[in-house]
């Protein structure tokens, strides 16, 4: 989910049109605009966009073979 706003340890996060509150105290330096994995009301890990892009690139190459 995408971090839209942060107020203390509480962030507003959104995905597919839904917006919820998530606690971000388990993350180092959460920032607005970052994507995070939310589990049981807490953001537990940031999602690495570059790694995601590399995975998709690998999959594209497999299709092109």
């Amino acid at each position: 989910m995408k971090i839209e706003n942060i107020d203390g340890v509480t962030a507003t996060v959104s995905a597919a049109g839904s917006t919820i509150a998530a606690n971000v105290m388990l993350l180092d330096e959460p920032a607005i605009g970052e994507y995070v994995l939310v589990h049981a009301g807490f953001a537990i890990k940031k999602i690495d966009e570059q790694e995601a892009a590399e995975t998709i690139e690998t999959l594209n190459k497999l299709v092109d073979k």
């Binding site: 388990l26 180092d28 807490f42 537990i44 890990k45 690495d48 966009e49 998709i56 999959l59």
Partner: protein, 359 residues
């Protein structure tokens, strides 16, 4: 990038399914998905239908509600019957049959039991109801435990004295070790994505290094699961066994160090019983003595009824991958999601629930 649709691409899944079939050839292979969310994703996305018949996927002990032993539920029910106590719990605990009752039945009898989706809701209840003792049922693996540890840290910092946790947290690596030492013959593990987001991938290496078993940390979308299986097969064919990470957008070698530190501050490891498996050394977490006033097991002195198991239920064998839901005489007959006999039929992550819902 939306991080969902990109990993459900049909062209990618077709290419991965072909690659898996090409590598597998006619080898008879068995892989275990350890995580309950993988079990549900595999059934929901029809992953088995994309695999050759000689490649078998079985479910492991990765549903937290399912592996929680009856005596824990009996303890929770005894606490719920105390005056001025509010029990807070994740919803899938409600219908799990305990020795003679369940949280649902207990609530019908008048106990104050609230379903919450996060410990932050339980904390809010404790702040809003200072005259009541709010107890959270702390069940879950390494992905969930930090959220409970965080709630205890927040309660401690706020000097909130009417909040406590009945802890039954479990650890995945010792369970893998126990499975590998048992009678089950496995060629590989699909390692859990969310648990590994916290603990990282390095932690599995000491456990798995002594065994010739493929291991790949996988995400939960179709291409994640298929790619992890393809990578597992590559390990088997090459003989180069290792702990690989397919779910790199979330899982790093070291995991979430901040979350791990918070867990370590609040909890320490202990031996604990797993439903159907028994006691596994150092596979559980208990609240440290420094935070004993937040440990519901120590804070409240209650008599817990003697534990009784349910006759004929094969949850124990299913959780170890030793049999399938269809091998259980109760499955789909006397045991359904509306009237479950065993825990595996209750939870949204339970193997029986997944097989019942998706076939």
């Amino acid at each position: 990038m939306k991080y969902i649709d990109e990993f459900r691409n049909t062209a990618h899944t077709k290419a991965l399914a072909k690659r898996i079939a090409d590598i597998a050839g006619d080898r008879e292979l068995t892989f275990m998905e350890v995580c309950g969310t993988h079990t549900m994703a595999i059934s929901r996305f029809g992953i088995r239908s994309l695999l050759p018949k000689n490649l078998r996927l079985i479910s492991g002990p990765g549903c937290p509600v399912c592996v929680t032993a009856n005596d824990y539920l009996d303890h929770a029910i005894a606490l719920a019957r105390l005056p001025n106590v509010t029990i807070t719990t994740f919803g899938d605990m409600m219908k799990v049959p305990a020795s003679t009752s369940s949280l649902t039945k207990c609530r019908a009898e008048g106990a104050d039991i609230r379903i919450v989706t996060s410990t932050t809701e339980a904390l809010t209840l404790a702040h809003q109801n200072p005259e009541r003792e709010v107890i959270f049922l702390g069940v879950g693996f390494e992905a969930t435990t930090p959220t409970i540890a965080a709630s205890l840290m927040l309660a401690y910092n706020d000097k909130l004295t009417n909040y406590s946790v009945l802890a039954a947290h479990k650890l995945i690596p010792p369970a893998l070790e126990a499975l590998l030492g048992g009678q089950l013959k496995l060629n590989g593990f699909l390692l859990p994505g969310h648990v590994s987001a916290i603990i990282g991938s390095n932690v599995y290496k000491p456990t798995l290094a002594e065994h010739n078993v493929a291991a790949v940390v996988a995400g939960f979308e179709p291409t994640d699961i298929l790619r992890a299986l393809a990578e597992s097969l590559e390990q088997i064919v090459s003989g180069n066994y290792a702990v690989n990470v397919e779910y790199r957008r979330v899982v790093s070698p070291e995991g979430n160090t901040k979350a791990k530190a918070i867990v370590d501050e609040i909890f320490e490891s202990c031996d604990t019983a797993w439903r159907g498996i028994g006691v596994i050394p150092n596979s559980g977490l208990r609240i440290r003595e420094d935070y004993a006033s937040y440990d519901a097991a120590k804070k409240f002195n209650v008599e817990v009824e003697p534990t009784r198991e349910h006759k004929g239920c094969k949850c124990g064998e299913i959780l170890q991958g030793l049999c399938q839901p269809s091998d259980c005489p109760h499955f789909g007959k006397s045991c359904t999601p509306d009237n479950p006999v065993g825990a595996c039929m209750v939870s949204g992550e339970g193997t029986c629930a997944a097989y019942y819902r998706y076939g």
